[in-house]
């Protein structure tokens, strides 16, 4: 790393429309063979910085400062120079592989067209080159795949194809902007492994932009933490995680749910990240900072940036006190113990949901997708059951079938002892007061034309109980309950941030005083610091109101923090259901083991020490599940019997848990 840096950024400053100050004086260097992780929440300026590096910002952006890449000054180069630089000196990997590829063009053509545009590849050789590149990123049957279209690729394969595309021209710098955020955790492990191997083979420098501190801890050499358009701290990855010098970094690490940590409540960072259009005076972090909130210096003077070229440093007036931010700012409240003797509130037995596949001239049913294939669950009052699994495993369908939003094809759902399968619509509506659903996306699940107050009051009006429940005063009480100011009652959803919108969704769900909440990925769309706030709110509500939660999520760390018990789903079935502590301590099913092993842990010291299991292949198509145990084609421990018969979910000796794997039981 003594050579000149591959890219050198000095005093980069980016303003949109003259007033939105997105990036404010950013300096960093990246050297060959190195991975720089840029970490930050939404609005921190990290993605804008990435686009500026390759000259891809829209013309309305005003860029000052310097970006030197491959001998080119990017901020002042003309369009043709920048075009030639892109693909040749810098390759980009973006977040969502479902939208980064053009749906109408074959994947092979999209991989090689950059090289053809640069004149480094003849059109006649393009297909052979695409096949070679696909093979390098572990796409099976590259000859057959090269002419296929993106929709014929799975998510993980698409992202590997994007990696192949970004690396086709052998650029010296790869910028990966949230490359695995849209992927399942086992697929994320595959994609990160491919990215790391290709980086080693080509010697490229990588800028990895992410909000996921676990991914950074496992892949980056150096880290730059961005907040409010600045780099507030930079340093080697071990330093950042072991001894953060900026209170924001320290608080961020502390607010992170972990699969390996203690059971303490998450320490939340108060407030919202600043929006680039309305930055606070002084240090941008001071309104949320436990160290500087009360100090005049922090309120009035912005700390000097980390000196350009410095390898370690923080933009903080009191870097030695950052550790104080690690101290809990709120006393941990003990959760009410779950009355295990209480009769179950929800009992799901042998639930099946099948969707027909139609085809042919008369649209006859030619197949069935068994989205849920025999699920059993029980949930007691005041208890949280985490339902985890990768996309397509049937966890959301299970939740919707319990709510009666999807008709089950077989099985029974009993709520408070009453079978809901045979209920007439009117009875079902009455019952639904007691079970409410919270959606993942706080942006699309609120009607943009209604005020927040109307949204929260709507279930009350639907059930005709608005006045009897206490009218406007009751709604204001709900706002207070979820931590929203009653002064915002007349605003529409667009005035709220993502976390605040999710609070509106929670208030709406609470309005009818339900006993069961089905939470479908309630924090997946939120920033890390906001996730902690919502998880803590849900914990408080459960303790105060005795709610039962069915918490559906793919994030094993969040599930660990909120759940009492956890059920792991794979392809429509529950493969393991255990008490939380037992499951995370010693997972029994091979799928659970690989799932937990694939979660990146935000601790660089643990890197490589955990013996990661990287699952081969993709989750199978639920329309054509493998014979026997659905997991056997990807299972390391599979024996001949596994493909013959589907194992039953059996009790584990000496423990209130079940696992659907005879091998696992033998080993327990």
């Amino acid at each position: 790393m003594t050579d000149a840096p591959v890219v050198s950024v000095r005093g980069l400053d980016i303003t949109f429309a003259g007033r939105i100050h997105a990036v404010r004086g950013v300096d960093f260097d990246v050297f060959a063979g190195e991975v720089l992780g840029i970490v930050g929440e939404s609005g921190s300026g990290k993605s804008v910085t990435a686009l500026a590096l390759s000259g891809l910002l829209p013309p309305v952006a005003r860029v000052t400062g310097s970006v030197r890449l491959g001998g080119i000054e990017v901020t002042s180069a003309d369009a043709e120079t920048l075009r030639q630089m892109r693909g040749r000196d810098v390759g980009m990997i973006f977040q969502d592989p479902a939208t980064t590829l053009n749906p109408l063009l074959p994947v092979g053509r999209q991989i090689t067209e950059g090289q053809i545009a640069h004149g480094t590849l003849r059109a006649g050789d393009a297909e052979a080159r695409a096949v070679a590149l696909l093979r390098e990123v572990d796409i099976p049957d590259p000859e057959g795949r090269v002419r296929q279209y993106p929709h014929q690729f799975s998510g993980g394969m698409r992202q590997r194809a994007v990696i192949a595309m970004a690396m086709a021209g052998r650029p010296r710098l790869i910028i990966a902007d949230e490359p695995t955020t849209a992927l399942d955790v086992t697929v994320q492990a595959q994609v990160l492994a491919v990215l790391a191997r290709r980086r080693e083979e080509t010697g490229a420098a990588v800028i990895l932009i992410t909000h996921d501190l676990g991914v950074v801890a496992e892949t980056a050499h150096r880290v730059a933490v961005m907040y409010g358009g600045r780099i507030v701290e930079t340093g080697p990855v071990e330093e950042i995680f072991r001894r953060p010098r900026h209170p924001y970094t320290a608080a961020l690490l502390r607010s992170l749910p972990r699969i390996d940590g203690e059971d303490a409540r998450l320490i939340q960072i108060e407030g919202q990240p600043p929006t680039p259009g309305a930055l606070p005076a002084g240090c941008v972090f001071h309104p949320r900072c436990p160290v500087g909130r009360a100090r005049a210096q922090c309120r009035e003077t912005e700390p000097p940036p980390v000196p350009p070229g410095a390898l370690v440093g923080a933009a903080c007036h009191f870097p030695d006190e950052a550790g104080d931010a690690l101290a809990p700012t709120v006393a941990a409240k003990a959760a009410a113990p779950v009355a295990s003797a209480a009769p179950p509130l929800l009992e799901v037995s042998n639930l099946h949901v099948a969707f027909p596949i139609r085809g042919g001239l008369l649209r006859r049913q030619i197949g069935t997708v068994r989205a849920v294939a025999g699920v059993n669950l029980t949930l007691r009052p005041g208890e949280t059951l985490g339902l985890v699994g990768e996309s397509g495993c049937g966890k959301t369908t299970t939740g919707r079938a319990i709510m009666g939003l999807i008709r089950p094809s077989a099985g029974s759902v009993r709520f408070d002892g009453q079978e809901i399968g045979g209920l007439r619509p009117k009875e079902m509506r009455r019952l639904r007061r007691h079970m409410q659903y919270i959606f993942q996306d706080p942006y699309s699940s609120l009607n943009p034309l209604l005020t927040a107050g109307q949204i929260v009051a709507e279930p009350l009006r639907i059930h005709g109980v608005f006045e009897t429940m206490g009218g406007d005063a009751y709604v204001r009480g709900l706002f207070d309950r979820v931590g929203l100011s009653a002064g915002m009652i007349a605003r529409t959803p667009r005035d709220f941030s993502g976390g605040q919108r999710q609070r509106i969704g929670i208030a709406r769900a609470l309005a009818l005083q339900p006993r069961l909440l089905i939470l479908d990925e309630p924090v997946a769309a939120l920033d890390v610091s906001i996730q902690a706030q919502i998880v803590t709110l849900l914990q408080d509500l459960q303790r105060d109101l005795g709610l039962a939660y069915l918490f559906i999520a793919h994030d094993l760390a969040v599930v660990r923090h909120i759940s009492d018990r956890v059920a792991v789903m794979y392809l429509g079935r529950i493969v393991e259901t255990r008490q939380k502590g037992a499951l995370y301590r010693q997972p029994l099913h091979p799928y659970t083991q690989s799932l937990l092993s694939a979660v990146p842990v935000p601790d660089p010291a643990a890197r490589g020490g955990r013996g990661r299991i990287v699952l081969e292949g993709d989750p199978p198509n639920p329309a054509r599940p493998p014979s026997g145990c659905a997991f056997h084609p990807r299972c390391r421990q599979a024996v001949a019997a596994c493909s013959a018969e589907a194992p039953a979910l059996l009790a584990i000796a000496g423990e209130a848990g079940m696992v659907a794997c005879p091998l696992a039981e033998a080993g327990a």
């Binding site: 390759s54 980009m92 973006f94 939208t99 980064t100 053009n102 109408l104 086709a168």
Partner: protein, 315 residues
């Protein structure tokens, strides 16, 4: 592919059946019975009875419908009351001129509309975009009869370059004469649809230019013309072919006003004449044929869609 088309055709059958019932029943729904039209106002009750029996109007309704449908399926749509000629022959005679004008107008619309849309969409909000958007609004807002008359005054009356009345000359037989005759009505209609095309395509292009795959294409170092031509255009075409198909479908049903201005022998004028003279068999035949053409164009759009978009499965 063949299966896809067959399935689409099969789906059209019930629609056609219901539509045919409506078309047949039209005779009874419209004031003034066909018998009264044929026998005139001063007919005796015997004459009325005789015509009623001759036309089979004394039979049960279901039998009448069955007979009508059976004949229609064999290409027998009856005789025109006015001219005593077979309805089918009358309509088929008007079909080639109508198609020729419709296709020519769509062509003019595309040749004008696509470049306008591209120039606007590549720099939205620029002075060029504003000028072109204003132009599109003008093309949409000017009534076709007025534009047609203006064009006749300029190119026929003043300059004597083109005929003022357009007769039908098959393009395949005498291309030059065909072009001379069709130029003014095709431009009249074409300018109108170019406004529609430009608006739709501009919106589609602007939407696609914001898509993630465009950023990806640029990040590979593609030239802007390849980004637009190779990536954006194809995606923007998807919504666009629907609009082009709809406009073509509306033109094959005849363009009443334009045909009238240029005294062009299209389906639109035939239908207007038939309505004016209460020539029921001819009205029925025209509507049935327009319906068939409409369905045919829609099927073409579906096939084109599936051809452009690999995500649509022919199976």
């Amino acid at each position: 592919m063949t299966g896809f088309i067959l399935r689409r055709l099969a789906q059209l059958l019930p629609v056609l059946l219901i539509a045919s019932l409506g078309i047949w029943a039209m005779i009874y729904a419209v004031p003034g019975s066909p018998v009264a039209v044929i026998v005139g106002e001063n007919a005796t009750p015997e004459q009325i009875r005789e015509v009623t029996v001759r036309l089979g109007l004394d039979r049960p309704l279901i039998v009448q419908y069955g007979a009508w449908l059976w004949a229609a399926l064999h290409g027998d749509l009856g005789l025109s009351i006015q001219s005593r000629e077979p309805v089918l022959a009358l309509i088929l005679g008007r079909l080639p001129p109508t198609l020729q004008l419709g296709l020519a107008a769509i062509l003019v619309g595309l040749v004008v509309g696509i470049p306008v849309a591209l120039a606007s969409a590549l720099r939205p909000g620029s002075w060029l975009d504003r000028v072109l958007s204003g132009w599109s609004a003008l093309a949409l807002g000017v009534p076709t009869f007025w534009l047609g008359i203006l064009l006749i005054l300029l190119f026929a009356v003043e300059l004597h370059w083109l005929p003022s009345a357009s007769s039908y000359v098959p393009f395949t037989e005498a291309p030059l004469a065909a072009l001379r005759n069709i130029a003014l009505p095709a431009v009249t209609l074409g300018l109108y649809v170019s406004g529609i095309f430009a608006r739709f395509l501009r919106a589609a292009l602007i939407g696609e230019l914001r898509a993630d795959y465009v950023r990806t294409a640029r990040s590979k170092g593609l030239r802007e013309r390849d980004v637009v031509g190779g990536h954006v255009m194809r995606n923007a075409m998807l919504p666009f072919v629907t609009i082009v198909g709809l406009m073509l479908a509306s033109f094959v049903g005849g363009t009443v006003v334009t045909e009238a201005v240029f005294t062009y022998p299209g389906l639109g004028r035939l239908l207007i004449q038939a309505i004016g003279t209460r020539d029921y068999p001819l009205i029925q035949g025209c509507i049935l044929l327009v319906l068939l053409l409409y369905m045919g164009v829609n099927l073409m759009v579906d096939v084109l869609y599936a051809y452009i978009d690999p995500r649509i499965d022919f199976g």
